[in-house]
Structure formats: C-alpha cells, structure tokens
C-alpha cells in the first residue's frame, strides 16, 4: 500500500519557495521516439521491422540484424524487477531536492532490461507493470508499478512528479458556465481536488451549469473573462499563486467556413477566446505557475488546454473555428517550451463534438461532457501529454498519421 500523503498544510509565508529545477533533459533524437509514445500514453518500444528484435535504449540500427527499419510498436508492459536501489545521494540538483529516490532495473517481458523509476509498492524479484511517463523536463522516462494495483497509488511521492493526479491539488476551471465546465468541476472535485476555482464571464447571462457548480463543496466562483486583460490580470493576482492545475476550457463555437464570409466578427470572437484568451492566461498565470513548479505540496503541476480535434485538421463546416483552434494548438507548444523551464507540463486534450447546445448541427457520435471530463482526469492521472477524446478525435489522429492529404480533402466528420 502506498504511504498516504499528508494533507497539504497552508504554506508558511516565512519559508523560501524552492526554485524549480529539472531532471537531466539531454536526449538523443532516437530517445524522443519514447517521448512520442509517452505523450500518447503508449508503452511502445523500438522494434526492428526486419527481425523483430525489441531494443532499449533506442538506437539508429537494429542491434541484432543491423537493419535500419526501426518502428515503434506496442509491446507487453510486464516485467520483473531484478534489482533496486534507493539513492541517498545524487549529483543532480533536481534529485538532490527529492532524495531519497528509488530506482530499479526491470527485465521487460518484451526483452530488454530497463532502468526505471519505481512506485513505492514495487518489490524486488516481483512482477511489475511498465509505463512510459513524461518527467518534469518533458521527456520520456520508464516507470514501474506493482503488477496488481495496491491502495492509494495516487499518493505515490515519486510518481506524482510525473503525473498530475488532482488529489489534494488546487485547480482552476476557466469557464464554469458550460455543460463541459460543470462536468470538469465535478470530475476534479470527485478526484479529490482540494479546491476548484471556477471562472465565469458575462455576468448578465445566467447559467444553470454555474448554479450547479456553486453547490459543489470544493468549488469557489471567480469572475474571469479571457477576452478581458484586466479580468485575467485581476484573477491571476488573486489566485495565481495557488493554482496547481489550470484547465483552459473556454470555447466559442459557431458554424461557417471562409468562402462568402463577409462578416469577420465571429472569426474575431473565436480568435479572441481561443488564441488571445490562451495568450492572456499564459501572460498572467504563466509566470507565477512557472516559478512555483517545485513548491513542494503546493507546486504548480500542469496546464491543460481543451482543444478541438479540428485543431489537427480543418473541418470546413467549422472552418474559422478550426483555424482558431489550430492557432491555440500552436501557441500551446510555445507555452509547453516556456513552462518546461519551471517543470510545469502542458497537456492538450483534443475533443470531438460534444453533446451541447452549440453542437446542435454536428452529426453524432457526440461526446457526453461528463465522460469527456472523466477522460481528461484519467489522462492527467496517467501523465499523458496529448489526450484524444472520443471517436472523432481518435479517427482524425489515425487518418492524419496515415495520410494528411486525404483528410485535407474531406474530413467527413
């Protein structure tokens, strides 16, 4: 059983805030293949297409047949923990701040032996399950958990550095006025978030979802309009030093493509919310979150963007909407690089059409907001970087990987 984390105590204002450090981040191009697999939550290793040898660490040629047709294939995540150590000393500043630190060598069922970060309940000689996780520097690392889940895995002190379990964390949901916003408040509160700050814009507009969110114990409501710099600045000044997971779910969906579009107001609004809104949040919440990346139990952990799967491939029926989502996606990569300096991770969730009023004309399948919210929380618990949500998102991802020109010519979704 994983040792339960003590509930976080209020921060002692007389104590120095620990500055963020990062684990060593120097990786080869081949090793970033692991990062791509970790980002998608896959346990895939480099596999030779010619002879089938599975190898680790990644290389440029097959260590068996010397072929260079090396592919990333999902392999068994089982293994046996052959040896372990607990570091009481490290030359690396990130680990010095976090000692003692437990590591092991796992003989993977897939073939290779792998150095891995160990969950507390892993026992030397016993079977474990392997995963590719993303560390605070944004790179893939191997993690091992007991073969059969033990109680309180979300409290694992080491693995919490590589995942974003909401338990005991303070979360900002940027827009609480939508069905999805409410579902997110419920999902995060249900996952044990200590506080859920709920933003709401446009005070003249009543929202039954916000009314419901108000009733949730962990929730506190704050005015927040991502199209208004003053509003974002004010909230960042109020709770910026408390937000540990920021969930940017503001969205503005209207139908329409480019041809014959005489009035740009809708397109302006989409950019104002998706792109400039993200930019405003990044401008005001980014610096304080980045500075708090290593603040112990109060450390900022993740920035989550809810994007449309049409950020990957334009849906002409939602042409300008898709374009603004693509702009936000690109900006999220900028944010990822900048927040990485503080060890704060950027997670993007890609959603297909949701079952809500604005998606009235979108054909099914449409996502149940509650299911989408649960999927996002599950992705954070697993430390996944890109979370495709729903059949539409999965299909776009698969088709785009296979042939991006095909999907450009007719998304049909």
């Amino acid at each position: 059983m994983t040792t339960k984390l003590p509930p976080p105590r209020p921060k002692d204002p007389t104590k120095r805030t620990r500055l963020p450090t990062r684990p060593p981040g120097n990786r080869s191009r081949e090793a970033h293949g692991l990062t791509a697999m970790a980002a998608a939550g896959r346990f895939a290793l480099q596999t030779c297409a010619d002879c089938g040898t599975v190898q680790y660490p990644p290389r440029q040629v097959c260590g068996n047949c010397l072929g260079d047709r090396l592919q990333w294939r999902d392999v068994s995540d089982g293994g046996r923990l052959l040896a372990e150590t607990t570091l009481a000393h490290s030359n690396d500043l990130f680990f010095r701040d976090r000692l003692p630190w437990r590591l092991g060598v796992v003989h993977a069922d897939a073939g290779p032996s792998m150095v891995a970060h160990l969950a507390e309940d892993c026992i030397a000689g016993a079977r474990v399950r392997l995963a590719l996780s993303i560390d605070r520097a944004g790179n893939a690392v191997v993690t091992a958990r007991p073969e059969h889940p033990t109680p309180n895995p979300e409290d694992d002190r080491q693995l919490r550095e590589m995942t974003f379990d909401p338990k005991d964390r303070r979360v900002l949901i940027v827009d609480g006025k939508t069905e999805l916003g409410l579902a997110l408040v419920r999902a995060f509160a249900g996952a044990g978030a200590r506080q859920v700050y709920v933003g709401h814009a446009q005070p003249w507009r009543r929202s039954p979802h916000l009314d419901a969110a108000r009733e949730i114990d962990a929730a506190t409501l704050f005015p927040l309009d991502v199209t208004d710099t003053d509003s974002v600045e004010e909230l960042a000044a109020t709770i910026g030093d408390k937000v540990e997971i920021l969930v940017n779910n503001a969205y503005h969906l209207r139908m329409g493509g480019a041809v014959g579009r005489m009035d740009l107001n809708t397109a302006h609004d989409e950019m104002a919310i998706h792109y400039h809104g993200l930019l405003r949040l990044a401008g005001h919440f980014g610096p304080v979150m980045r500075a708090r990346g290593a603040d112990g139990a109060h450390g900022a952990a993740a920035w989550v963007n809810l994007l449309s799967a049409y950020a990957w491939a334009n849906n002409p029926a939602l042409g300008t909407y898709s374009a603004s989502q693509a702009a936000a996606l690109s900006l999220s990569h900028c944010l990822r690089a900048e927040l990485a300096e503080g060890g704060v991770r950027v997670v993007n969730a890609f959603l297909g059409p949701i079952e809500d009023e604005w998606h009235q004309l979108a054909p099914p399948p449409k996502l149940d907001p509650a299911a989408a919210a649960r999927r996002i929380v599950a992705g954070l618990k697993a430390g996944v970087e890109d979370i495709p949500i729903g059949a539409v998102a999965e299909e776009i991802l698969a088709r785009r990987a296979e042939n991006p020109k095909e999907i450009e010519r007719g998304i049909g979704l």
Partner: protein, 391 residues
C-alpha cells in the same frame, strides 16, 4: 579453430610511475600526463625523444585527444594510440603496446592513464558519458556509476546470498594494504563497524563501497627485454593478455564479465593456472566487481566469492594478496588512471619497487581491468599476467 596466438616473448613492462593523487586539482589532464612522462623518463634514464610510442587514456583531455597532447608535450612519436576504455584501459594499453614493440613499430611505448578532477568536473563527465546514459540512466538521478553498481550489488546479493560484511572484508583488507602507500588518499584504517554504518549513498552501497574521484596519473613503459637490460632498469615480462567487449549481452543484468569468456585463453597463453598467481590486482571501483573478477578468473566458482573472502586473507601478507597497494577504494579513482593502477602495482611488486607492503617471492602477477558502464553494465574487460624477470 583460428590461428594460434603468438606469445609476447622478449617484451617487458618497466618503470612504474604514479603522479600523486589529489582530491581536486586546478591543473588539467595535460599536466598529469606531462608529469607522468617526466616520471617515466626519469625512472628509465631516457631522453624524451627516445620514447617513440604513446598509449594514452584520459576522460578529461577534452577538447584534446592524445593527438593534441603530443604537441603539448613536445614529442613526435611514430606510434600513437588513445584508448577510450576507462577502467579497462590498462591491460588493453599493455597488449597494444606489447604488439607494437614486438612488431618493431615502436621501440619504447609510454602507457599513461591520467585525469584531472576539478570541482564539478566529475558531474560533467558523467552527465555526458554516453548516448545510452544520457537517454536511459542519467535522467533517473543516478549521477554517476553509484546507482549502476548499486543494482549490480543488489542483484548479486539476492542471487548469491552475499552480505554487506563480505564486501566489507574486502574493503577493510584493501585499506590495510593502503596504509603504508604514500599517495593513497585514505590514510586511516577502516573497521567493520565504520564500513557497515557509513553514510548510505545508493543502497545497498554505502560510503566505503564507493571510490572517491580524484586527480592523478599512473604510467609505465613497454619495451624489449634487451632494451630494459641495456638501460639497467628492473622489468617484468608480459606473459599473457586478453580483452573483451560487450560480453554476455543477453544476461538481463550483469553477474559476470568478459573474463569468463577469455579465462582459458589468458591462462593458456601464460602457461599457468589460477593456482600459480601470487598476487592479484583487480579493478575495484566497487567491491561487487572484485567478487566477479575473483570468480570469473578462476579462483572460485560463480557465487562463491563471499565464502572465498571469508576464508582467505586478502592482505599483502595474507594467503591471497589482493590489490596490494589498496586499490582505488583506498587510493582514490584518478579517472582513467584507475584503469592502470593495478598494472602499475603489479609491476612494482614483480620488480621489487613497492611503495607499501611487498609480497615476497611473487613470480606471477595477475591484473584485471573493467570499464565503461555505458548503460546498465560494464562493457570492457581486460586482463594481463606479468612474470618475474629471471636474474
């Protein structure tokens, strides 16, 4: 069956030199190499230009290699080798040089293992040690080989029932061997209590299981026996050498090294067996690797080294003289110099030029080397047997 290996008849090693170790130094590896060369020509009574071959190992010459070092030292050899095998370099350098002299490509080869140790240079060395380490070890917090050897030690203990006391016996015996050696960094005797209760580093490893990185150099010369006799310097004949890289790649974790592949070739070439070895210098950055060498080089069966060290006396005056100058565990690890410390001590013992305890009447010295944990195991192993010159 391949071509039979030629022996090393008429080829000898001479002029053991140690540039005294320092925990930290502001000098560069070039300085340590230069002082080692000065020591060599002083010991052999040679002019610098008479050394026409160089075999160099160093991690900290960067951005230079042995090539730049030649201009730095003002020499123009006709034979030059740079051996990037860390702890395995010593016996490898010896066998390279022996063949060069035997073939007439060089007359006198200087073997130099040297490194400096600036404040923070060890961290920088391990942070860029290999692509595999960058990708799959260093990001896990294992700053250096401590964690890698902790895994090997943990596995060995689980597999063969070794206890920490067993490793302690070896460390304590080596410390006693080191006490009269002037350049050894560790000057005080080690007790079992101190060993067992030392500060944890990477469990099961504690402080006295780990070498201390330092600056220093080890060096010697290789030449023909005739040349050594003409110079009037003591020497030791080269009887046998082996090297092996990436042995047993299918072992999921290292419990043996390449010596287990080459043991037959080694003793066959020397014409002796393990029972004829009078002193053994094994690579000793951590005690577990000593246990593997004792087993893989035929002194006991696999897994029996813990019993072996309980039954035998590893001190220089004991019945199994082992790392008779105290090894790296007591002297410090002078980077790639650590790959030569066993060779230089073997030479001292067989030529009677010891700094510390002397193994009386020793006729055969075995030196074995180990190096380069690039990912999860040491990739390079080597070994050599030196004899005693006939009068």
């Amino acid at each position: 069956m391949g071509q039979a290996r030629r022996g090393y008849e008429g080829i000898v090693a001479a002029a053991p030199v140690t540039v005294p170790y320092a925990r930290y130094s502001i000098r560069s590896a070039h300085w340590f190499c230069g002082r080692a060369l000065a020591g060599l020509i002083g010991a052999a009574g040679l002019a610098k230009a008479e050394i026409d071959g160089f075999c160099v190992s160093s991690f900290t010459l960067y951005p230079d290699s042995a090539v730049g070092l030649m201009q730095h030292l003002g020499v123009s050899p006709r034979w030059l080798d740079h051996i990037p095998m860390g702890g395995a370099s010593g016996a490898v350098a010896l066998r390279r040089a022996a063949r060069a002299v035997q073939a007439g490509d060089a007359e006198i080869v200087a073997l130099i293992g040297a490194d400096t140790n600036h404040v923070d240079s060890f961290r920088r060395t391990v942070a860029t040690f290999s692509q595999f380490a960058n990708d799959a070890v260093y990001p896990y917090g294992a700053g250096g080989p401590n964690a890698s050897f902790a895994f090997l030690t943990d596995r060995y203990m689980r597999e063969y029932g070794a206890r920490r006391e067993d490793f302690g016996r070896l460390c304590i015996a080596q410390r006693e061997n080191a006490l009269p050696v002037p350049h050894a960094m560790m000057k005080r005797p080690l007790t079992m209590e101190q060993y067992l209760n030392a500060r944890p580093i990477a469990e099961p490893l504690r402080l006295f299981d780990c070498v201390m990185p330092c600056a220093g150099a080890e060096a010697c010369l290789v030449m023909t026996e005739d040349r050594a006799r003409a110079l009037g310097i003591p020497f030791a004949p080269v009887l046998a050498t082996v090297e092996r890289h990436n042995a047993f790649p299918d072992d999921p974790i290292q419990v043996r090294g390449g010596w287990a592949v080459d043991i037959g070739a080694l003793y066959d070439q020397a014409g002796i067996g393990p029972e004829d070895v009078d002193l053994f210098q094994a690579y000793d950055d951590y005690p577990v690797i000593c246990f593997m060498q004792i087993e893989d080089l035929g002194f006991c069966a696999k897994g029996e080294a813990p019993a072996f060290v309980r039954e035998r006396d590893l001190r220089a005056g004991g019945d199994f003289p082992f790392n008779t100058s105290g090894g790296q565990l007591s002297a410090g690890q002078a980077g790639a110099g650590g790959g030569f410390i066993g060779l230089v001590e073997t030479l001292r013992q067989l030529t009677g030029e010891t700094h510390g305890h002397r193994v009386e009447g020793a006729r055969h010295g075995l030196v074995s080397c180990f190096g380069m944990i690039v990912y999860d195991r040491g990739l390079c192993t080597s070994a050599a047997i030196l004899g005693r010159a006939s009068a």
